[in-house]
Structures are given as C-alpha cells and as structure tokens.
Symmetry: C2
Subunit: 423 residues, 2 copies
C-alpha cells in the first residue's frame, strides 16, 4: 500500500501486532494458545492491562456493574453519543490467541492513532471489553453485552455457577474490587452509543480459502437447536426378523434422510447456500452390539440469516416429528431459538467502501457464530469486520491469524471509526 | 390330544411344569424373573437340586472339570455312546425363568417318564446342565459346552474375571468343592455322545406370532461383528459452509444407507429373509451440539445361516470401507466372526415327524441366538427344539412361556429321545 493518506493508513499496525502478542501472554498456555476464563485472575489482569494502556493514551477508563471495561477518548462535543468499538478478552479453556482479543486490541490501535496524530473529533469514542463472551466458565455467554443492551438482567446472571461451584456474582465481586483499586472509574449505567463496530476473526474458512484478509459482516445467523428422539422396541439382534423390528437407529437414519432432503430442497428453492445443518450429538440406547436400539436421540443445529427461512424449516421439522419412522414414534424438543440479526446497512456499506482499498471484491459474510454485536445491534446501528484465520480454526490453541491479514482489518476499522466520529 | 399312545404322550407334563416353577425359585428376583449368575450360590444350589432330582429317578450323577452336571440313566448296553440332552441353569442378572432352565427340566421329564414307565433301552441317556451359558458373569459364554466339545481349553477359561475381580477358576473351585460333598461322582473327562438334543425358548417372536407352540431348529446363524469408524474434521457448526465440511455424522449416514442397500440387494438376490443386520452402538465425537463431528463409530451385527452369504456381504463391506464417505476416511474392524452351524438333518427330521402331531405346519427355524448346541454340533449329530415365548421377549423378568406351549415341546423331546435311544 503506497501513500495511504487516509486515517486508516496512519495506523501503526506493527505496534498493534506487538500489543496483541504481548496481551495474550496473560493466561498463555504452556503448549500454546490461551486459557483465560471469564473473571479468572488472568482475565482480571487482562482488564488491568487494558486500563493501563488507556491511561497511556490519555483516555478516561470506566467499568460498569458487570465488569465491562471502557476506554474513553473525549470528543469536542461531550453531548453527542459516543462511537463504541469492542470485543472480549476472555477465552475458551484451551482457546486461541485471537478470538476476541484481536478486536479489543484493534480498538486500542484506533485510540492510539487518534492520540499520536493528536486528532480532535466532534464525537467521543469508547473501546469496550465485554465480560464473559465465551460462556465457557459461566454459561450462557455474552452476559456483558446482553446486560449493556438491556437484554438480560443482573439478577439472572449473578447466580450462574462455574464447575467448581463459584457463582458469577462472587467472581464478579472480586473482579470489581480489583478494578476499584485501579484508576478506573465506577460507572454503573449503560448508555446508547451512536454506533457499534466489532472486529473478530472469522472462525470459519471462507476468507482463508479465498485469500482475502478482511470482509464486512452483514448480520448474525439465527440459530435453532432441536433434539429429536425416536422410541422403538429393544430386541435380540439375532432372533428378531427384520420385518418385525422397531429399530430406533433405523428410524433415526430414515428421519435424518428426510431432514437432509428438507434442507437441500429449501436451499434449491431459495437458491441459497447460507443454510447450516449440523447433527453434532447422537446417542443410542441401550447401546449394545447385539441388541436392537429402543431409543435414538440426536441434536440438530440449524442456522440461517433469515427468520422466515428458519420458520419454514421449523414447520417442516415439526410436521416430520408427527410421523412414525420405521414404526417408531418421534418427538421433537426445541432447545432454543435465537433469531437472526441484520446489521445496519449504512455502516456495512461504510466498512465496505474502506475494505475495497485493502481487499477488493471481498464478500459480505453473515456470521455463523454469536458475537457481542448480536445484542448491541438492538441498541444502535452496528456492524462487524471479519479477519481471515487459518483453516477457519478457532477455540483451539492452533488458531492462527497472519499479521498481514490483521493489519488491513485494523486500518478499515480505524478509517470507518474516523468517519463515524465525524458524523 | 386324545389317546396319545406314543412315549412322548406318556410324559406327565404337569409334573414337568411344577418342577420348572419350583426350580426357578432358586435365585428368583423379588420383582419377578431370575438372577442366577454362573457359579454363584444360587447357581450351585440349582446344580444340587438337579443332582437330588437325578437320584430320586435312580440316575447316576456326575460333574466334570468345568462344573457341568450330568444325570445318567444306564442303557442295556453301556458300551453304546449315550444320548445327551441338555441346556443351562444360569441366567442373566435380571433374566427370565425359562431361558435355559426349561431345557434342563425338560430333560429331567424324559428321565422321569423312562423311570416311571420302567422302560429299558439299549443306549444310555444323560441330561446335562452346562456351566455359564450366558456369559453374563464371566464373558464369553458357553465355556461349559465349548470345553466339553474340545473347542476351548480350561487354561483360557479359568483366568476370566467377573466385575468384582473373582476369577472363573476361583468360583469354579468353590462350586466343585460343594459338588464333591454331594453324592455326585467326579468324572473329569468329556465323551462323544450318540446325539445331542436341546430344548430352548425361541427368544424371538416368530412362533408366538404364528400361534404355534414348538418347532425344530435346523441350525444356528453365523454372526459377524464389525466396527466402522469414519474420521472427518471437527469444525464450527455456524461458520463452516455445508460444502466445506468433512462431517463424520453425515459420512456415517451415507455409509449406513449403502450398507442397508447391500443387505436389501442380497436379500432380494437370494430370495432370503434370514439376514439380520443391526446397528446397536453408535458414537459421535466430540459430541457437541454446535460442533461438526470429526469421528463417528458404529457397530454392525450381521447374521445369516449360510457362511457363503456372510462371506459375500463381508467382501462388500470391506470394499465400501475403502471409499471416502462425504470426504471422510472409513475404517472397518472385524470384531469377531462366528461361522454358522447346520444341525443334523436326520435328527431335525426326526424332531419334525413328532412335531407334526402337536404343531402341524410348524416352520423350521434357524436360531438367531447362540446356544450350547453350537459347540456340541461339532462333536455329534445335534438339533434343537424351540418353544414359543411371549412377544419373543427374553433376558428380561417378563420373559414368559405358556404351559400349553411347553408341554408339547417336552413330548416331542421325549418321543425323539425314545427313538434315538433305540437306534
């Protein structure tokens, strides 16, 4: 990139990369990767690091009732709602070094560029690290952003327990007391930002396969979780003729064929390759080599960016569960339904205008994974950027991002932030 | 049945039924059914009961090196190899009252009829109770008959352990010391009988569904056990497009469709409804709702009365395991191959001639389950009788046989034994 005179072009991406590598030493696992569970000692140290970096850049620093940490660079007009940039610093138990942290450190790079270039802007800017995005220690995830957006109450979050019996409330109290001893300011309430931006690794293989470093994200898929159960009759594998069986495995097999047909038919009808259909759990009972199974249970994870498409398939699934399968009764439990989120078209377009400079022809993706943006999008115009990660691998110590892929993403973030700060 | 002047017609079937009901009080479970594990105290008491009954009928009683117990009624020519009738007195942990015991008590009824009618016969007759047919405490099952037929050595049987760590050898030593204190005679060696008959409940639904009490069994199906494994790549259920997946569950699904086709095609080609194909175990890893599975493992239990048919399917299975399935590699482990056994045609015909009187038109079945006869058939001409059991249920406290179904089976056994004693 020669003579990139944009604000994005001014970002010291090498400094950003050093910051990122340094940041993930906090909680680094001996064999590689990151083990920084929400509100554990490393996660608290990661917040302190962020607060310290904010102070170096002349920011005010805040924490709220749920431990979200904010770095604020004041705009010329403090009355204007601030631009918010964020992601998370917690990881999976054996996670990678980029999932979440890259997005927070990218926000820091924007603050550093504004600071070093001594740029004034009408609107204030805040960089946030949301608490417990992963949900690996306290499930479900994203309570920090959900609480901020008014989607979940503290009362339902605080009693959540980790595997050792510690509650979220106790772990949070410890975190807040440490933050209280820092120079960060206790700011209990949330607010409505002007807009929200989040950079995250794709956690999927599309960018990596296409050789592009970065792309805009236009929304987050809706996710329905199902549990199908088929009940047959256990019997002797040798003495029961095939035509006298009520075999739950064979029933599940035939039903899965039909579910696949529904998915394939819908994909063809809608000329749509965005459906995701996954059976990740499957159990047979009694589970003996020479006994015909009397119970088969399997999960379905169904995702699509459009609520209507999910609803059509949902109705077909419900209907299939009414039928007998190889003589076995079926039941369908809906474990959860999370509706899709569409990001703000103006902000997505703004991101894409800047992306064109660094990754011409980049696709517009829909996120298949959840992110904190799923909640913030209900509060203010929001959008995300994806960075390519090797083989789409994440939640794994081998998760990997190339510096030359992350750098343009930070430039796009900075440039778009700069434009939003002047809106 | 009016004026049944045959020897079979002379059996006091009510006495037989009382004996059977009385016998299964030893080890009866509080909620119904029988819990009499091989070589436990109840199983040893059941042997003592059998020895006592033998003495009442004027028999000599023996036990051998592996605890098999024999009641012998001497023929006029002690040099002729004896006719052998047998089954087993051990049960599953929560088993039924008929599986095994019915066959031993049926043999006793033949001895009683000979005794009460004071009938002399050229050939001697022995009734045997084989040790540990079930294999529920010490796996694998049928070591008593296998040792007798020279198919397994004591050295490989004695070290087998039950769940509490007790060896077969220690449990057997205790049993033999109790039997040594009885009036039974220690007879270490096995011998080659003239012929072997075994009555057993069908453990399948065919007789019950057809309303027939009894039928001849022409053999025991061969059984191949397989383990298929499919290895894909674990990945995020939301972010990985369908066409970029190596989904082990979907691979298993497609492979199972093909295995079913092989079975159905073979059944049509051979105009054969004797194939049995069962997938009783199925496991997915890592087993998470929102993770594409990277490993699917399932068992196949394949049965047929003809070795050639099993070999044809075996070859097709091996070939399918060479292919990729939805991009995933397959491996096929053969866990075991037990070849089919065909019973002696002359003895099966002899049984059927007598069956015609009590169950005209009864089918000739092939046993889908193992029995001690599978080993003895290699030693001498052998055949079995099946008795109808309700819904084909066995290995369950609700296992049930009607007295009016058992009675003709005992008459057929007695009549056939009578004819074989005079051969």
């Amino acid at each position: 990139m020669q003579n990139d005179e944009t604000f994005g072009g001014q970002v010291d991406t090498q400094h950003f990369w050093r910051d990122l590598q340094h940041q993930v030493c906090i909680g680094a696992l001996p064999g590689g990767g990151l083990g920084r569970l929400a509100l554990d000692d490393n996660d608290i140290r990661a917040r302190q690091w962020l607060i310290d970096e904010g102070h170096k850049l002349g920011c005010q620093t805040f924490y709220d009732l749920i431990g979200n940490v904010y770095l604020r660079r004041e705009g010329l007009d403090p009355q204007l709602p601030p631009l918010l940039i964020g992601s998370h610093l917690d990881s999976q138990p054996c996670g990678g070094a980029y999932d979440g942290t890259l997005g927070v450190v990218a926000g820091l790079a924007v603050l550093r560029t504004l600071h070093e270039q001594n740029i004034s802007h009408p609107r204030s800017i805040e960089v946030v690290s949301w608490t417990n995005e992963e949900g690996a220690r306290f499930a479900p995830g994203t309570p920090g952003s959900a609480w901020f957006a008014g989607k979940r109450e503290l009362e339902e979050i605080l009693p959540l327990c980790d595997d050792s019996g510690t509650t979220f409330g106790d772990a949070l109290a410890h975190c807040l007391s440490v933050l209280g001893d820092s120079n960060a300011i206790d700011r209990p309430d949330s607010f409505t930002p002007h807009a929200y931006l989040e950079v995250h690794i794709e956690q999927g293989p599309i960018l990596d396969a296409s050789g592009l470093p970065v792309c805009a994200v236009s929304g987050i898929q809706g996710v329905n979780w199902y549990r199908f159960e088929l009940v047959g009759v256990a019997n002797h594998a040798g003495t029961t003729p095939m035509e006298m069986r009520y075999d739950a495995l064979m029933a599940a097999h035939t039903l899965i064929s039909e579910l696949k047909s529904v998915i394939e038919r819908t994909a063809v009808q809608h000329q749509d390759n965005q459906l995701r259909f996954t059976i990740g759990k499957f159990a047979l009972a009694p589970g003996s080599v020479n006994t015909i199974a009397d119970r088969a249970t399997f999960s379905v994870d169904l995702r699509h960016p459009k609520a209507e498409t999910l609803a059509v398939i949902d109705a077909e699934f419900q209907q299939l569960a009414q039928q007998l399968w190889e003589g076995c009764e079926a039941t369908l439990h809906v474990s959860s339904r999370v509706p899709p989120v569409a990001f703000d078209e103006d902000i997505v377009s703004l991101l894409e205008r800047s992306i064109e400079q660094y990754a011409p022809g980049a696709p517009r993706l829909v996120s298949g994974a959840f992110h904190d943006a799923i909640h913030i999008a209900h509060l203010c115009p929001s959008a995300m950027l994806f960075v390519a990660c090797r083989d789409g691998l994440s939640h794994h110590p081998d998760e990997h991002v190339e510096e030359q892929d992350a750098a343009p993403a930070v430039r796009v973030l900075a440039q778009t932030a700069f434009e939003l700060l002047h809106q």
